[in-house]
């Protein structure tokens, strides 16, 4: 299979499945809390409805407000194209260098923060301030995690790290710490418990939601879709670090059996990931924002432990 075809397949799959992930998380969470829950494909309907609605743009906003949804969505799409989510060795896999990935994630967060500030409301400013704090202070932990993987696998690209993924965990068990830290980081980056509540309607408890309060219609659809993309990307990445790479497409393998295994595997990864996330969200509470320092320090120390143990053991 040509690497370009792999990139296209990955893009189509992940871009298509992203809203389903969000829907699955909500459905699992509802079921775990004893509710009926909306159907898992409701986000598709919601996005389609939002795209058809009329937008209401505030008079205090400027061109930056209009640019933000495009940039946030574009960074999401860029990540989907370069990361090893459904296939490894795709055409752009050399660009999945962890510093570039961290930089692109930060770029998306920065633009979302600017969008929150441009809305000229107190809630937007509050959400932006909190989100920017979390995004800044999670950077050292991100670097610690990926430095540990880079040192253990000998590759600086995430594509290379994943290729020595499932087996490397047994060779260097210290990477378990890095994985735990990656889970904590994923929760922080995706505005999930215990960092943020994605389902709250109380503005004082919002971080991510407060920044997108002013967006409506197609812009809101783009921003929501971008956050669904981010969640899908992180879930698939975490899954790919834990399971062997036979569940990923590879340029050299092309049999119908393998293809079916990969497709079913991807769907299973999303299912399992959403279930675990819903389980986590149901069992723990959201932390006070002013305790974020403890959470982020803990993530950093665990990631640092992973790095130091990889280096010295």
């Amino acid at each position: 299979m040509s690497p370009l075809l792999l990139t296209v397949i990955q893009a189509v799959l992940v871009l298509g499945l992203a809203p389903l992930t969000v829907g699955l998380v909500r459905w699992f969470k509802a079921r775990l809390q004893g509710r009926q829950g909306a159907v898992p494909w409701l986000p598709y309907v919601a996005l389609a409805t939002m795209l058809r609605r009329e937008m209401v743009i505030s008079e205090s906003t400027s061109w930056v407000f209009r640019l933000v949804p495009f940039v946030v969505c574009a960074t999401g799409v860029f990540l989907v194209l370069i990361l090893p989510l459904v296939s490894t060795g795709s055409a752009l896999s050399a660009y999945s260098h962890f510093m570039l990935v961290a930089g692109v994630l930060a770029l998306g967060s920065v633009f979302l923060v600017l969008g929150g500030l441009d809305s000229a409301s107190a809630f937007g400013g509050m959400g932006s301030s909190r989100e920017m704090t979390i995004a800044s202070l999670v950077e050292p932990a991100v670097f610690a995690v990926f430095a540990a993987f880079a040192v253990a696998s000998g590759h600086a690209t995430i594509d290379g790290m994943v290729q020595t993924g499932g087996a490397a965990l047994l060779v260097t068990p210290a990477l378990l710490f890095s994985l735990i830290a990656l889970v904590l980081i994923a929760l922080a980056e995706n505005a999930r418990y215990p960092v943020d509540n994605p389902a709250t309607h109380l503005e004082l408890t919002m971080v991510h939601e407060a920044m997108v309060l002013e967006y409506s219609g197609p812009y809101l659809a783009m921003v929501e879709y971008a956050s669904a993309l981010r969640l899908t990307v992180f879930l698939l990445l975490l899954a790919n670090f834990t399971v062997p790479t036979s569940f990923l497409f590879h340029p050299s393998a092309w049999q119908t059996g393998a293809t079916a295994a990969v497709l079913v595997g991807t769907f299973l990864k999303l299912l399992l990931g959403s279930f675990l996330l819903a389980l986590l969200e149901t069992s723990i509470v959201k932390m006070r924002f002013y305790r974020m320092q403890e959470y982020l320090s803990l993530a950093f120390v665990i990631a640092l432990a992973g790095l130091l143990l990889t280096l010295f053991l």
């Binding site: 305790r291 320092q293 403890e294 803990l298 120390v301 640092l304």
Partner: protein
Amino acid sequence: MIATLAVLEPLFAVVFLFASVLAMPTFRVKSLLRLYACSSIALALLIFSFAVRDASGHLYPLALGTLFVKGLVIPALLTNAIRRSGASERLQSSLRAAPSLFVTVAALLVTALLIQHLPFAASAASAHVLYLSIAVAFAGILMMVLRRDVFSQMVGFLFIENGIAAFSLATIVVIPVAIEVGIFSIVLLAVSMMALLSHKVQELYGTSDTASLRELTD
């Protein structure tokens, strides 16, 4: 079995250390005691794997004793004491959670640097276990120094005790059973006395914060 234990040995060692590091930013009594129990169980499993690996029979009762006394009885005792005394679940410290975590990590790094200069480093049976013991004892001392309330002092003391037990594992060849029994009973007695005293403190002062114990009363 020996092979799996040999593979799992680093895991036990790391859990032993990490539970004591994670105990530093924990400010809820139940979590603290759970972490202590976790650390003690890891120590017991470590002793057990050492016993299987070296085929030294005297370590089996030590492992069993650690598992039973430190992993089960003492946490149960303390939890019971706290519940009966009605003390607040939230512990006091002179340093907030995140800085105390960083201080502990710094202490671990300092220990790593200093361990090469210790006189008995060369003769220790296992350099890793030596490092672990000193690190855990150091973490226990830090907990006793940085925290203000009575229960943290107790748990800090218990961590120091764990560290010393690991140290004996690393350096001493044979411990007679009688001495082991003596050590365990001393620890048990000390903990029950401390539980009783903390009950009295709670009764008299209404708080478990040691800042109220600084001055003499009539």
